[in-house]
Subunit: 268 residues, 2 copies
């Protein structure tokens, strides 16, 4: 049996009760933290809290060598852990299908996603979000600018009057991080860094930075991109939302919860 | 202090550990179950499991008379519970802003959303979902057909090669349920019912029904809409996804996990 468990957004208590119980009942637990991380917990803290040894596998250990996980799942109850929701990475789906092919029963225990948090914390309605996109570090995609695909996603969503959730690049355990010239501690793109990149095309447009979603001290700041580019939102993880024309209640929320200047909400 | 807690998708163990702890620490707990329900738990089971009295408020009791909740939150630690994620309904955002205005500290503890589950269970990649939509019961929106807005959302997403998550109507505690002629037990739209409505325009198109996401026995069935319309997917909650052209791994998942006929995946 192979149970995929999304650990949620922040620390060892971000998992669901069902996920916690499944993890405690598991015979063995594997994890990958290269697609995302729990910034509020170390692996040691996870191990202590859930009282189970956790074998962390790197990208190569999951993508090129999934057999040890599958072999274990053939004989015992195995949990496969990821930060945030599970099945976000194609790797997880691939692993599940391989298990399925081998006749290993699988189960998915969902975790809270950044998408839920982006909507829940900003007050922007979830049904008004269009396709999401990811902003990569310059250099990581062979150019110094915002990739055309990111610009296009934001623009097409705006034409349809939809919000865009912009995930910010994470360069943990990624061989291209060196190529992008990232120093230690710069593996997580920050909201101000992202705003600076996007401000090149949309300096005066309203955007919202959400920092540390799912933690006890999340931060929501709504302002024009050129202003967001000058601020410091603290530690990771951070993400950015480019809102469509906000509805009345959404505008209220951006002003009350994110400090959006009224003139950016068409209120002056 | 007013803490909004999303209870997650299915039963009393679908909440996060953080949410469970916040609920246990609360002095009072209110809940609304008219926007969604935990079909795996009764209120009595929630009360017993979390060891706290839960005051369930109906639509009028939240939307027109929020003062008792706010008054309580001014003096004590109050939890406000919803099924699924919190802040999905504008009512929750409105309540949060009213608390904010009165100087009451608020906190949001996210729950797993149907969106996460739809993506996680089907193998369809979350970044390929466009805007979501809700299919109402005929009669509930003044017509017998699929509303133009639903058709348009699906069509525009398809043009952009994006999946569409179709939430299915829930008529719990809704005065229009009688008007729609719904009998007891028919308050939750089923996947076959939805497929029948959508098959009028797209009989041969591939769709995916997801039943009981977040439960121990979720069901995923991928087939043409006219076929899905003839099937029985069991109990609630159910939802439907109209996929875009699936990528290779997505097609593998729909075939292996949802039994999609290969010819609908362009494989024959």
């Amino acid at each position: 049996m192979l149970t995929f468990i999304g650990l949620g957004l922040y620390d060892e208590r971000s998992v669901t009760v069902e996920g916690q119980e499944a993890l405690r009942d598991a015979d063995r637990a594997f994890a990958e933290f290269y697609t995302s991380r729990l910034v509020g917990s170390s692996v040691e803290e996870l191990v202590a809290y859930h009282d189970i040894a956790i074998e962390v596998r790197d990208r190569a250990g999951v993508e090129q060598d999934p057999e040890p996980v599958l072999d274990a799942a053939e004989e015992a109850d195995v949990a496969f852990l990821t930060a945030g929701d599970t099945m976000i990475s194609t790797t997880h789906v691939d692993l599940r299908l391989r298990a399925h092919e081998r006749g290993i029963e699988t189960r998915v225990i969902h975790g809270v996603s950044a998408q839920s948090a982006a909507s829940g914390l900003t007050g922007l309605q979830n049904y008004r979000f269009g396709k999401a996109t990811t902003l990569p570090f310059p250099g990581a995609h062979g150019g110094d600018d915002v990739p055309a695909s990111v610009v296009e996603t934001i623009e097409v969503n705006r034409e349809r009057n939809l919000h865009t959730l912009v995930y910010l690049d994470i360069k943990v355990d990624d061989p291209t991080a060196d190529a992008a010239g990232l120093a230690e501690g710069e593996e997580y793109m920050t909201g101000d860094y992202a705003a600076e990149l996007l401000a090149r095309g949309w300096a005066d447009e309203l955007a919202v930075v959400v920092a540390r979603a799912g933690s006890p001290d999340p931060l929501v700041v709504a302002d024009r991109l050129s202003e967001l580019a000058t601020q410091d939102f603290g530690g990771p993880l951070q993400l950015l939302v480019v809102p469509a024309e906000p509805h009345h209640l959404e505008a209220d929320a951006l002003e009350a919860l994110g400090g959006a200047p009224p003139e950016l909400l068409g209120r002056e």
